[in-house]
Structures are given as structure tokens and as C-alpha cells.
């Protein structure tokens, strides 16, 4: 009888051991996949990264030279997107978290945000084309591209800001209101300063999201090649993600420009992941402090 019980116990232990093994293996597969991607991009891309590559425009129908216009383009587009989306996103989050009552209106607004977050990126591109480029007559321009990307990053910023606002202790608000401050004074002087680091983290995440997107700018801002750097927000522009796509699929010499493709991809992920790491580390520090 004792033996029997032991066997059951052993079996239960064993099944736990096996299942936990599966958990570990799946987590490891993710890590390995990420490492493989990094390995190939870094191993084949780092040699392309030279001073000329970073500071020169493409030459000889994009088979030589650098990617300076693309870097500038991506910076313009993603900064523009954040400038458009941050105020609206933060204000929306303030309403949702500080003013709104639980109810139907709130439920509908949230549903709108969730669904906006789920819209496919190519649909954003078509919307940008139909609305900003054609209907508002902005043309294919930095402005149209930045606004399209802004719409796309809006849910990211709202989400991050709400999280930051939720992390502000209720006692802060109560203390401020108890001293006779109005709701807005409380928000402006107490809640927002406390939540600011969290909101900035959200802004950084939005920035990195906007920098990496391709489909939304394909029809609204990015072009194959432009010889000059942009001089106004109504200019067309080159951008890193679109440049990778163009070189890899439609360039004149797809095989011969492989090193440029790897180099561009490496620059893009260093940019995007650098921003993300910044946000992750910053957030971890904040959590430790709280």
C-alpha cells in the first residue's frame, strides 16, 4: 500500500517535472529565436556600418553610398507622430482615468481605443492615403505620414499614460483635494508631475513603434528615392523601414546590395530597440523606487 502511494506521488511529481520542462523549453525557444535574428543581422550588418554609410546619401541608383536621408526621414516621421499623438493621448488618458465615471460612455470610448489598436497597419496606410493625402490635400508628405503614424501610436500612448496615472497613489489626490484644490489643480500640480516619468516612457514606446512601421508610410510619405533632404513638412521623404523593403524586393541589384540591406536593418533595430531598452530600464528603475 505504501509502495502504491509512493508510485502515485512519483507520477504526480513526474508530470509536474515534464510540464515545467515544457514551460521552460517554450520560453527558451523565444529567446533563441530572438538571438538568431540578432546574430544574423549583427554578423552580416556590422561591416556595412561605416561613417560614410551613416552620413552620405545613396549613390549609383542606390547600390552604393549611405542612408542619411532615410535616417533623417525616420526621425522626422516618428517625432512628428509623437508631437501629434502625445497631447491627444495624454488628454484622453486623463479623462478616462481621472474624470470618467464607470458607464456606457466610458465603455464605448474604451472599445474605440481597443479597436483602433487592432486596425491592421496597411489599413492605416490606406486611410492616410484617402484622408490625409487626398481628402485634406496634403499630398505624399512628411505631414501626412506623421499624422498617419500618429493615429497608429495613439492607443500605445493612451495605454501607457493610463498605467502611469493609475500608479499615482489615491492619497496624493485626496490630500490635494482636501487642501481645497480643485480637480484640475490636483491633476495639474499633483497627479501629472508624479506620473510624468511613466508618461515619458509611453512616449518613448510610441516613438519606437512609429519608427519601425512601414505599411502606413508606403502611400503617405515614403518614396523610393529622393536626391535632396527634406526642406519642409510637405516634402516627400525616404525612411529606414521602407528603404529596407525597397532594397530587398525592388532594387536594381538585389543580391549586390545585400550588405546595404543588412546595414539598414541593423541601424533600424538599433534605433528601435535602443528606444525600447531605454523605456524598459527606465521603467524598471521607477518600479524599484516606488
Amino acid at each position: 500500500m505504501y509502495k502504491n502511494l509512493n508510485r502515485t506521488q512519483k507520477r504526480r511529481k513526474l508530470s509536474q517535472f515534464i510540464m515545467f520542462g515544457f514551460f521552460r523549453v517554450s520560453a527558451a525557444i523565444n529567446g533563441i529565436a530572438l538571438l538568431i535574428i540578432f546574430y544574423f543581422l549583427v554578423a552580416r550588418g556590422w561591416r556595412a556600418i561605416t561613417w560614410t554609410f551613416l552620413t552620405q546619401p545613396p549613390m549609383d541608383s542606390m547600390t552604393r553610398g549611405g542612408i542619411l536621408p532615410c535616417i533623417i526621414g525616420t526621425v522626422c516621421l516618428s517625432l512628428g507622430a509623437i508631437i501629434a499623438a502625445l497631447p491627444i493621448g495624454v488628454a484622453s488618458a486623463i479623462y478616462l482615468n481621472e474624470y470618467a465615471f464607470q458607464g456606457r460612455a466610458l465603455r464605448i470610448i474604451r472599445l474605440g481605443i481597443n479597436n483602433l489598436a487592432g486596425v491592421p497597419s496597411v489599413v492605416f496606410g490606406l486611410f492616410g492615403l484617402a484622408f490625409f493625402v487626398v481628402y485634406l490635400k496634403m499630398g505624399v508628405s512628411i505631414l501626412a505620414g506623421a499624422l498617419t503614424l500618429g493615429v497608429l501610436t495613439l492607443p500605445v500612448i493612451i495605454g501607457a499614460t493610463e498605467e502611469a496615472l493609475r500608479a499615482v497613489p489615491e492619497t496624493y489626490r485626496e490630500a490635494s483635494l482636501g487642501l481645497g484644490a480643485t480637480k484640475w489643480q490636483t491633476i495639474y500640480r499633483v497627479v501629472l508631475p508624479t506620473a510624468l516619468p511613466g508618461i515619458l516612457t509611453g512616449g518613448i514606446l510610441g516613438l519606437s513603434r512609429a519608427a519601425g512601421e512601414t505599411a502606413p508610410i508606403m502611400f503617405t510619405a515614403a518614396v523610393f528615392f529622393t536626391p535632396s533632404l527634406p526642406s519642409s513638412i510637405f516634402d516627400e521623404i525616404m525612411a529606414l523601414p521602407y528603404h529596407i523593403y525597397v532594397l530587398a524586393t525592388a532594387g536594381t541589384e538585389i543580391e549586390a546590395t545585400r550588405h546595404l540591406q543588412y546595414g539598414t536593418a541593423l541601424v533600424l533595430i538599433v534605433l528601435v530597440l535602443g528606444l525600447n531598452l531605454m523605456a524598459i530600464i527606465y521603467r524598471a528603475r521607477l518600479q524599484k523606487r516606488q
Binding site: S26, A27, L116, K183, W184, I280
Partner: protein, 303 residues
């Protein structure tokens, strides 16, 4: 505001104005969603003067540039559904198991490393993943499986799985994390092993959250553009094998929009395809929203 703060009434009015302003701004998201819907339909609907809705959705042939053109997006829809289906066979187990690992079995120090991995996976730009699939995975598949092209359904599904794992994993993890500790402790106190607790208590309790995570992950996969544009192969056929090239809806839209004559039939047909795609993701997202609200995890009493 400082000046008027001595009179309660004007102070009240200022507060009200501020409140209303914030309310109006918070409607921006839903207004944008409405604008997206309106403009997609506005530019998409004219195609139905040329073909019927039935012929458009169930038509077998997509030859938009032929004379006369064929606008049947059935192969594109099947392309989208097949890459989404195959990718979720990979991403659901990996995503959910990783979430369980993070929430239940990993030590704090390992967690500290695995969590950023998942976050970085989510942050990788889709064009980079598409590029990777094109230059590394495609030749590899072609050699190992001895198929005519490495740019096919299987490759696209692999890359899409990589992209939807973070979504599935992080939302599932939140759901697992919010299972009340009393439930877990009660089960452990009754002598259940950790795994028995997970499979009989934690998983049933967090099922609605995990389902939401899976649906959102699939919605991400069906709408993903650059990956399917670069690695799916681009043939508008109904696939018969895992290694056939396909042309999912987003790929078709992204590839052809630049060449489609402005406001011609092809242009309208692509917008109509986007409407179909949009409706698919809307359906996924509404389903996810419905499940997460209807079966909301509130506390121990919900089990």
C-alpha cells in the same frame, strides 16, 4: 484661473470647461475609427458597381490588371486565413506556455531576463522580421524541405507566429497573474502539486483572459502586412500544401496600391479588400472585448 479662484462660481465654471474639453479630446480615438471606416467604405464601395459582392468575396480569380480584369478575392481571404491558422498552431502553445512559465514557475531572477526578451520580440519592426524571413529562413527551408520556393505559407506562418507570441504571452500572463492567490493557496494546501494547481485551478480561472489573448494574437497575425508581403510568396491561389506560396489580403493591398491607377477599378477593389480585412480584425477585436467583459475575472467568487 488664479484670479478667479476666490469666487466659487467661476471656479466651478472653469472646472466644467476643462472637464468637457478633456471629454471631447478623449473622443478622438473613436472619431478616428469612424473616419477610417467611412473612408474605407467610401473608396471601396464603387467597385461593387462592377462586380457583385458575392463575386468579389467568392470569386476564384484575382487578375486585377488583365483585360477584362478579374476581382475575386477568395484566394486572398484563404491566404490570410491559412497563414493566420498555421501561425496560431505555433504561437498559441508557445505564447501560453511562456506566460505560464513567467507567471508560475520561473524564479524572479530568470523572470527578470525572460520578460524583456518577450518585450523586445514585440518591439522588432515587422519589416526586419520580413527581411530575416526572406534572406535567412527562405533559403534554409528551400534546402531542407526541397521545395521550389522558400517564400511560402509555412515561412510566413513562422514569422507571423514570432510576431504574435508577445501579444499572446503578455496578455495571458496578466490574466494568470490576476487569479486570486487564495485560490492557488487553497489548492496547494489540499495537497495538489504545483502543476495540478495550474491545470485544475489557475487555467480554468484565467481561461477568459487567455482566450482574449489568443484572439488578439490572431488579429495581429491576420492584419500584419510587411511579413506576408515579403515572405508569403505572393501567388493568388488557394494553397493545397504547407509549402505553396500564398497572397494574403494585406500583401495584395500593399503590393498593388502604388501601381493602381487613382480611383480606377483596381484602386477601389483594393480599398474593398481593406474593408474585408478591417471587418475581420474588427470581428476579432469585438469578440475579444466581449469575452473579456462577459467572463470578467473579479475575485475568488467567480469560479
Amino acid at each position: 484661473m488664479e484670479k478667479s479662484s476666490h469666487t466659487g462660481k467661476s471656479r466651478y465654471r472653469t472646472e466644467k470647461i476643462i472637464r468637457i474639453t478633456f471629454f471631447c479630446i478623449s473622443l478622438a480615438s473613436i472619431a478616428t475609427l469612424a473616419l477610417i471606416t467611412i473612408f474605407l467604405f467610401m473608396e471601396g464601395l464603387p467597385i461593387f458597381k462592377e462586380v457583385s459582392v458575392k463575386d468579389f468575396v467568392f470569386g476564384q480569380y484575382w487578375y486585377p490588371t488583365d483585360e477584362p480584369p478579374d476581382f475575386g478575392i477568395f484566394p486572398l481571404i484563404i491566404g490570410s486565413l491559412s497563414v493566420t491558422g498555421v501561425s496560431s498552431l505555433i504561437s498559441i502553445p508557445l505564447g501560453v506556455l511562456t506566460a505560464l512559465y513567467l507567471a508560475e514557475s520561473a524564479s524572479a531572477s530568470v523572470r527578470q531576463w525572460v520578460k524583456p526578451v518577450v518585450e523586445l520580440m514585440a518591439a522588432l519592426p515587422s519589416v526586419v522580421i520580413g527581411f530575416f524571413g526572406m534572406v535567412i529562413i527562405a533559403p534554409f527551408l528551400q534546402e531542407v524541405f526541397d521545395v521550389p520556393t522558400g517564400l511560402n505559407l509555412f515561412n510566413a506562418s513562422l514569422m507571423l507566429a514570432f510576431m504574435s507570441i508577445p501579444t499572446i504571452c503578455s496578455i495571458s500572463e496578466d490574466a494568470i497573474f490576476s487569479v486570486p492567490t487564495e485560490l492557488k493557496e487553497a489548492s496547494l494546501a489540499l495537497g495538489a502539486t504545483k502543476w495540478e494547481t495550474i491545470s485544475r485551478v489557475i487555467l480554468p480561472a484565467s481561461l477568459s483572459g487567455i482566450t482574449t489573448a489568443i484572439i488578439l494574437g490572431m488579429s495581429r497575425a491576420i492584419g500584419e502586412t510587411m511579413v506576408v508581403l515579403m515572405v508569403a510568396g505572393g501567388a493568388a491561389i488557394v494553397p493545397t500544401s504547407l509549402f505553396d506560396p500564398v497572397r494574403p489580403m494585406p500583401a495584395s493591398i500593399a503590393a498593388e496600391m502604388a501601381e493602381a491607377p487613382f480611383r480606377g477599378d483596381h484602386y477601389h477593389a483594393l480599398f474593398a479588400t481593406a474593408v474585408v480585412l478591417f471587418l475581420f480584425t474588427l470581428l476579432f477585436n469585438l469578440a475579444a472585448d466581449h469575452i473579456s467583459h462577459k467572463y470578467k475575472q473579479v475575485g475568488a467568487s467567480t469560479l
